[in-house]
Amino acid sequence: MTIRTLSASLLFLFSLSAFAGGKVVVYNWAEYIPDGVLDDFTKETGIQVEYSTYENNEVMYAKLQLQKGKGYDVVVPSTYLVSKMRNEGLLHPLDKTKLTNLKHLDPDLLDKPYDPGNQFSLPYLWGSTAIGVNSEAVDPKTITAWQDLWDPKWQGKLLLTDDVREVFHMAYKVLGFSTNTTDPEQIRQAYEKLQTLMPNVLVFNADAPREPFLAGDVNLGMIWSGEAAMANAENPAIHYVYPSEGAGFWIDSLVIPAGAENVANAHAFIDYMLRPEVAAKTVEAIGYASPNLAGKALLDEATRTNPIIFPAEDVIRNGEFQQDIGPAAVELLNGYWEKLKTGR
């Protein structure tokens, strides 16, 4: 018996327990849904939500691929994984007739190259990765660029997100490359650039970068826009700086894995999340930008004009959105990533 058939039969055993109807299994990023939304959904539809979280795209992808797209009904990959998973047949096509709230979405964020015609995915939230600064310890005016993080005076002080694409984005931008480069030479140069940053790194954070900032353990480093918005609301001293070389931008999309067992419930869940009032509640609670125009209109003035959540046009133009870079470049990046995290 090969390992594949063995794991398949194990999966079959597990799936036997999933016969009871009326549920949807959601696999989402940590801290990526407001409290209460799942309960409201269950109250209204009677569909039970089984909810679990992941810390980065790679972990989610590893699980889904191992299970051949089974085990989950809704997941929330970033753009570059949407195209990868779509190409590998890991996604279930969306039935648009069941998604009545589709009309609220910003057309500018639909029909992108990573999923033409949005056959498999709909944008859930988008945001940026830039620099967090606590003005109690560091003057925010002195931090204007990614390159500033390389200053030797930050030895053992920085927080980096535990995300290979985002960390390499910094080096690419400092060196003037695209964040989606697949050129091994450019990747190697970025790795060497990052090697010189490692003495400054105190911690890699995967789930909630705002917490070390709020706890005062870190005063400078990478942070996601939503985390920065939440941190800023709690402690106004925590600023969000869009670096001059360009922030990293990403869109996370709602998709249904190919092996989903509750496809109808998954559609119901996605449609619920696309409701304007749910979208507005999500932006308010977790600080990421929603592609939901009707939802954005429901937000109060302060939230709608918060530059951390909704950056200005030129900031977006100056940054770069992530795309799929293919398996060869990913493998190269992961190899370098392991070395960097080991301190080399």
């Binding site: 390992i3 594949r4 063995l6 794991s7 980065n56 790679e58 972990v59 590893a62 691929q65 191992l66 590998e88 053992g156 535990d162 290979v164 790194v201 105190l202 911690v203 890699f204 954070n205 995967a206 706890a215 005062g216 353990d217 398996p327 493998e331 992961n334 190899g335 990533w337 392991e338 070395k339 995290k341 080991t342 301190g343 080399r344």
Partner: protein, 284 residues
Amino acid sequence: MLRPAIIILTLGWLGLFVLAPHLLVVLTSLMTPHPQHLGTYPFTLDAYVQLLDPLYASVLLDSLGLAALTTLICLLLGYPFAYTIAGLSTRWRALLLFLLIVPFWTNSLIRTYAIKLILGNKGLINGSLMNLGLIDQPLQLLYTPFAVVFGLVYILFPFFVLPLVSSFDKLDPGLLEAANDLGASRWQRFRHVVLPLTMPGVIAGSLIVFLPAMGMFYVADLLGGAKNLLLGNVIKNQFLLVRDWPFGAALSVTLILLMAGLLLLYAWSNRRIHRRGGLDDENL
């Protein structure tokens, strides 16, 4: 009728949940990495050759070092602790052992998060030292190897003490009286009677601490800043991030072999102690 049933149940349990998974790990470690599957044919030793890469060799050495330090600290704290406990009345002893176990009622992950609060820049330790005026800048305790060792010692300490206490229990007071009667000083009684006879407990405790210490990736993730400090972090990353399952499995097999080697050492030292001064001692 009951006995064979229990034996079959036990063997079945061990076979299904211990033997089979370990065989799968060994099998996986011998395969060729494949991006879409756990691994593919042909069988190869490549994953083990990769272990010799200076990068991974140095992680192995680093985590051996951290685990050794953890074990040493457990020993220095745990031995006097167990020695003291063994001398107490039954009631006190039961109470102290109970207190040692109580923290286990809380999940170790939650306790690790609590350690973050204690070691942080505005945490209990730094806050107290600053209030006392002993320091004016917080010490960087969190996200350092120190924090990892602190967390490992805290989590693994009871596992070290328990086997040690039971080996103090087995210590025959008659032997100490005899040594006393024969004119041995306090130190001589400790050095020549107590220490050798509690050695199996020390070794058992060390084994139980040393190996898990190298694998507790979440301690290094939360307290050490998610740098690849322990072998467990590398194993986790190979399985989840890089998806080189054969290499991750080869690293696991290395840990298993290390454990097996240490267990053999334990059995050997146990035999040796029984021969010298124990019931099997030919000189008695």
